[in-house]
């Protein structure tokens, strides 16, 4: 059950497990994890996203870049927000989009994952956007798809959610500018969070001044400090002088598994209230990957307050996903 936070299952598969993300020319082909991208590719994605943001301000919110391509959203785990923004991103690039919800489809009829893949490939798909509850699922698919197909990881188990981390970095850069002077705190259930894993790798690559995680001992991985993260178990000290607060979603099953006493207890200690927000810098921004549990990890007045950028994160997600799709597809045409 326990997943090693620093090195999850996937690296055992190959000597350079992240090399699969690039084609023979060194161009980004699949986006499976933040690891291996380095500051150059991350910055390139953010810069490209900036260009796409202007498209969403126009009357016709569409460019013809991926006309004639087919993007398939393969969701083995339900998610409205992520799937919708991937769908919108693909449509704004003029691609055709197919949404396949496999949690209720073929796999429950006993069809294997590879059979499902082959069938969708036969429909001339050019890109798979994959969400799966198993860590490493997107890697597995990337290793087995036809050579012209790109794979984007839209969240796999506890492992990675790279586009979420990229849109968070993009949102921070748009508001705060340079990463070097920033203190960023990630608060809550870091242990089970693929979002937190991807964020830590992204922020480290971008040379964020100081990266903190705040949460109860049961929800912070023991092996996290080598990643260059300062661990706090107390909000008052953890939030001091912080520029960016990222609240993570608390899964209800954590209470059931005995890692936490009650929601009320968690809220009292770690829920972001207006009072606790006052411990951070006065111009600190509040982020949340959504969907937020109001009254569990965040107070409604904070989520809807002037320091919250939660809805900007959603809008920015479209531009960032357009950038990742366009960059990966421009390699897949060789």
């Amino acid at each position: 059950m326990a997943v090693n936070f620093v090195r999850p299952i996937i690296p055992k598969l190959a000597k350079d497990p992240w090399a699969i993300q690039f084609d023979s020319q060194g161009h980004l082909k699949h986006l499976l994890t933040i690891e291996g991208l380095g500051p150059t590719w991350i910055t390139r994605i953010l810069d490209t996203a900036e260009g796409f943001m202007s498209v969403t301000d126009r009357e016709i919110k569409k460019v013809p870049l991926l006309r004639g391509r087919t993007v398939v959203n393969l969701f083995f785990e339900s998610s409205t927000r992520t799937r919708t923004t991937f769908e919108l991103a693909a449509k704004r690039l003029s691609a055709d989009v197919l949404n396949i919800n496999l949690s209720t489809s073929a796999t429950t009829k006993g069809e294997s994952l590879l059979d499902t893949l082959r069938n969708i490939e036969a429909m001339q798909a050019d890109m798979f956007v994959v969400r799966h509850d198993q860590s490493g699922a997107a890697h597995f698919i990337a290793r087995h798809v036809a050579p012209h197909v790109s794979v984007l990881n839209a969240g796999d188990g506890w492992h990675a959610h790279p586009t979420q981390a990229l849109l968070d970095a993009f949102t921070i850069r748009r508001i705060k500018g340079d990463f070097a002077p920033l203190r960023i705190a990630i608060v809550g259930d870091v242990r089970h969070s693929r979002v937190a894993r991807s964020q830590i790798h992204a922020f480290n690559s971008l040379n964020v001044g100081e990266l903190r995680v705040i949460g109860p001992r049961t929800l912070i991985p023991n092996d996290i400090e080598p990643l260059g993260v300062r661990v706090f178990h107390d909000m008052r000290t953890g939030l001091k002088d912080v520029d960016v607060i990222i609240m993570l979603r608390l899964q209800r099953e954590r209470m059931e598994s005995g890692l936490l006493p009650t929601e009320q207890e968690f809220y009292r200690l770690y829920g972001l209230t207006e009072e606790k927000l006052g411990w951070a810098k006065p111009d600190a921004i509040v982020m949340h990957p959504g969907p937020a549990n109001r009254g569990v990890e965040i107070e409604s007045r904070v989520a809807d307050g002037p320091q919250s950028v939660i809805l900007e994160q959603v809008s920015n997600g479209i531009g960032v996903r357009m950038a990742v799709m366009a960059l990966c597809m421009s390699a897949s045409t060789e």
Binding site: D47, G51, S54, V63, P64, A326, S330, A331
Partner: protein, 178 residues
């Protein structure tokens, strides 16, 4: 180094060309061929030229900038340009006369992309193409209304415009560009 061949045409001084283009455009405005035009430059060379012309023509609306990267037809072969400065059209283009500015008119594909992008912003009344250099080699039925200099070049030759200040141009043979 650039290889000078005996039949290589000479580029006229840019200052002279700019003055001539300015006069032609001012004439078109005075004659009523262009009404209260909005100037739009194509990244990057076209924007440099448009900036200079915009100032001299004393146009009322701010300059627009088009980045046609998302509209190119060679995305399949060359991919996305890493630095994509976004397009900026500061005012509504519906019903407007637009002076579209680029540095070199060659195959016409850049202008095709720019026209498509403009029509995703609105429906202009007229688009008036202005280029510093027009050379042979059109692959699409596209023509410029105001031209600084017309040249005949062989297919290996290209006109490279550098800027913004100073604005310079030179003819290079393809081997030099690698």
């Amino acid at each position: 180094m650039m290889q000078s061949m005996p039949d290589t045409p000479t580029l006229n001084p840019i200052d002279d060309l700019m003055t001539q283009i300015y006069r032609d455009l001012q004439h078109a405005i005075d004659q009523g061929q262009l009404t209260n035009p909005l100037m739009v430059g194509i990244h990057s060379g076209g924007v440099w030229i448009a900036e200079a012309l915009h100032q001299r023509l004393n146009l009322s609306d701010p300059l627009g900038r088009l980045n046609i990267t998302f509209y190119r037809d060679d995305f399949d072969t060359i991919g996305l340009h890493p630095q994509v400065a976004p397009s900026q059209l500061p005012v509504d283009i519906d019903g407007r006369d637009i002076i579209l500015v680029d540095d070199v008119l060659y195959t016409g594909r850049t202008i095709r992309a720019a026209l498509n992008e403009l029509f995703d912003y609105g429906r202009p009344a007229r688009i008036w193409l202005t280029v510093l250099y027009e050379r042979d080699g059109r692959e699409l039925p596209i023509a410029a209304q105001t031209v600084g200099q017309r040249l005949q070049l062989n297919p290996q030759q290209q006109i490279h415009v550098d800027g913004p200040t100073p604005l310079t141009a030179r003819i290079v043979t393809r081997e030099d560009t690698h």
